[in-house]
Symmetry: D2
Subunit: 136 residues, 4 copies
């Protein structure tokens, strides 16, 4: 069995670069979120709707290993994999590559917890959890 | 009579630069907001508290003229002036200079409207408006 | 004769929102740049390559009028139009709409000048200028 | 012996918040960089000058643990500690707290490598390395 993954691609924006001429390192976490949102959409779950219904996912831990720089206008490919689901937490892994050359730019991992509108921990809604578990 | 102005200073962050080696142009609007918030604080009004009480200020128009580049670690000085107050709108002008050399980096202008939690136009609360008018 | 325009679409990122629940106003300038870069690509000119060859375009003036808020995950459509070309300057206009509802979110205008690697004004390279003028 | 640490404080900017009403998680890495730059300045080394002289520090790994949310206008305190120096690499640890309440908001760790203008690994200049080692 292979884990379900989702691939999304976009180009590096000028705003994402820094004076070293490469993408500023914090922006990779933004890209991970883009990957995560598209992963959920691919499962038929719209994260915007989930929040509208009162459930948010807040990042509790993030790790990024930077392997090679991304540059302005590069095609970036984010491959997102769901790597863990518990009653109140989910974990995702990401591989970020150059979509034109396949060069690996970064790997990342994020842990998230399910919270209500007031920021209190809550169980992931059962239907959403079932969908996530099926994608493990 | 001179208009009331407020001056705030901070250093350019690495994240704010782009591959041209200078500050990315959109970030000047972030600096204007920092200036605006500090201007209000100098009047004894905490913008965070204003929002907590149900009144937000949403930007409806922004203009920036870029005169000279700001670079990483430069000391930036934002001079904020209130230039207009109406029942549901306020306008601010900004001068952004290099705090070490006095070189003028940019001038900017923003118009804002007063909105409630649902984003609907509302009158600026009377006490806040009085404070703003006294600062014109 | 109709002016040449270019349309590009993308989704609002979570990172682009602010605590008002809508897109933070400075991010519209980032979107304008995405539109501008894609406009140039549609003319067969890669802005990244132009910079590599020694010519940059630096924003000297930006104006944005905000008409309606954009929200997380909204499909954003940026329609970019070249509105002026001179020996050392170009101007673009932008219309930003919700790609699903056609609601107009913002209009914007930016003036840019052509600079060399050291940030000095230079003439737009003749071949690039010819391509731009053909797109007016 | 206690390790040398450096403390820097600033307020949360509106632009740093997201629709959850709290600071967007990627921005903590920007704050770590602010802490790191101020740490170096406290050692008498200006990171901007170091880059001007041809040595950059590129982040190769970043980890953040998010403990409590930061909100708009909160006073943020970043305590930066140098935790490792090798010939071509340095590591920093960060504690991010609310400067008014002392609540711990996040801890973070970054590894950086020394690179030349072309992005190639290089030894940390001897004088800079000596200063760093004295601060361990």
């Amino acid at each position: 069995m292979t884990r379900r993954t989702h691939v999304t691609e976009f180009r590096v924006r000028y705003a994402e670069t820094d004076r070293m001429g490469v993408v500023y390192h914090a922006n990779y976490l933004v890209w991970c979120e883009v990957g995560r949102v598209e992963f959920m959409r691919s499962l038929g779950r719209d994260y915007a709707a989930l929040e509208q219904q009162g459930t948010g996912l807040a990042v509790t831990e993030a790790r990024v290993r930077y392997l090679a720089p991304a540059r302005f206008d590069d095609l970036v490919r984010v491959t997102t994999t769901l790597v863990g689901v518990r009653s109140r937490a989910v974990s995702f892994a990401y591989e970020i590559t150059n979509g034109a050359t396949d060069l690996r730019l970064a790997t990342a991992h994020t842990d998230l917890v399910s919270i209500d509108r007031d920021g209190r921990l809550m169980a992931i809604p059962a239907d959403f959890r079932a969908i996530l578990e099926a994608a493990l």
